[in-house]
Symmetry: C2
Subunit: 295 residues, 2 copies
């Protein structure tokens, strides 16, 4: 069952009415000193939970936040029970993991006690469209900075994504493509990208200098592309290559794999129309066969 | 009177006990979609409030958050009354201004209703030392990215400062110097910098590509340097120049102007010792003469 109400837990306890005052001093709110994972909830299960937790632990190490993935998993399980008691079995569960309260300014406290927030929201209304049909994307003007120390992890400093998403309000485009200062494609605003280039090779951008290393991206690279016997490699993608590409897909761990039918530039002029090819269909069908929650 | 307890207000209302649930969905916590100002409270007044509000409004425009500075001022005044009723007249007031609750993922809601949080904390214990004596600084290894869209404003995405401050825990250093990828000095972790170079010219780094444009920096440039009849210009500062500099000062709107007596590199090796020169004393004395709260 799906529910449009919101539900929360804070450090393993259901939040029913009010919150503790300490949240106003949380380093997550003050500095974005924390991480988050947005996880598909399907039939009371979190299908890619291991990949999500492993990225969270990796990010926590980079941000110097002591992390016990077993504790997060325990709080998530308690939260799923809380949802089940409300007859909620499907939707999106978000976990926010912060460096908690304290410290002197930017200096973290000597003993960090993380804050762990679980929240539930219904699946996006248009998820069926995203999964079954192709989408339109447009270029964003806002550039991702080169930021090796923070590249790959899903931290709470997301102003780049907010500013990029602010560039349009029309329902015509379902995603925005984000570039770095050298005009190389990095990712979509809330998804990673895979492109089949003019030579017929599938490639995806390197994320060592910027971007988020998506859970669905790693699943596609490690399991789905190999299962389809389609080679996949990491390579630079220019706007010129996008204009000549054979296929483009974007993906994330909530919506799965979304083929792109049209690419527009930031002036909303059509750059490229695409017909979905058998290889893209095979990738999509293999994903849903091996991971039915993405059906 | 100074108090070591914390006090808060949320959207103009004193927060006594609990917080509304909505704070868990705030875009400030989710994405750092917001701004903050840390303001000196002196004898129940906020000395540089106009400059703080003007920077906040500038940042809100960049982050597409509708802002009424009169409303923020009104909430701040209410908060000062709340503090006075507790006999608190001196310390630090922080205002956090976020894009509020709502939106679909990164997409902001069609009507943004900002969250305005005021909080109080006591002055740093060591503020007297900072103001009366010189400090030691060290280089940070963590680099500030080039990020023109967000440069200058005091937004809530502050992982760069958190990671830089994480590089040392010794009390030996009072500030860290932050560089960009080209090894040019940008700022200190929570302060701006002014340097007197080998030629005897005072310079401060350009903040168009990264860094926070400090309220005390602008006060020094617009009022204090001119009042001392000392020319000040914006110019690049390399590590080589730092090693040969005649004077270095860092400044922020809470601590005022802090001369530097020693510069260390990130390996904590001494790069340069400095004796405080008459020009630095004149700048400091002019600031405290014109703005007694910084005495």
């Amino acid at each position: 069952m799906v529910n449009s109400k919101s539900y929360f837990s804070l450090n393993g306890q259901p939040v029913v009415d009010h919150l503790p005052l300490s949240l106003l001093s949380d380093r997550g709110l003050a500095y974005g000193h924390g991480l988050f994972e947005t996880i598909l909830l399907h039939q009371s299960e979190l299908p890619l939970i291991d990949r999500h937790l492993s990225r969270l632990v990796c990010g926590a190490n980079i941000l110097n936040i002591p992390v016990k993935s077993t504790l997060i998993e325990q709080y998530l399980n308690l939260f799923l029970e809380q949802l089940e008691s409300e007859a909620i079995t499907d939707g999106v569960v978000k976990v926010v993991f912060t460096a908690g309260v304290g410290g002197r300014g930017y200096e973290p406290p000597s003993k960090i006690e993380p804050t762990i927030i679980c929240s539930y929201s219904a699946l996006p209304r248009d998820i069926a469209i995203y999964r079954k049909e192709a989408i339109a994307v447009r270029y964003c003007q806002h550039r991702l900075p080169t930021h090796c120390a923070l590249a790959g992890i899903k931290h709470l400093n997301r102003l780049d994504q907010v500013l990029a998403r602010n560039e349009w309000s029309s329902e015509k485009f379902q995603e925005g493509l984000m570039f770095n200062a050298s005009d190389h494609l990095v990712e979509a605003i809330s998804a990673n990208v895979f492109m089949k280039n003019i030579a017929g090779d599938w490639i995806t951008p390197c994320l060592k200098h910027s971007g988020v290393s998506g859970v669905m991206r790693s699943l596609l690279m490690e399991e789905i592309f190999p299962a389809c016997d389609i080679p996949i490699s990491v390579a630079q993608i220019t706007k010129d290559q996008l204009a000549k590409c054979q296929q483009l897909v974007v993906c994330n761990s909530v919506k799965g794999l979304m083929p792109v039918h049209s690419i527009y530039n930031h002036r909303e002029q059509l750059v490229k129309s695409l017909l979905i090819e058998p290889q893209t269909l095979m990738l999509s069908e293999t994903l849903t066969a091996l991971f039915p929650p993405y059906r």
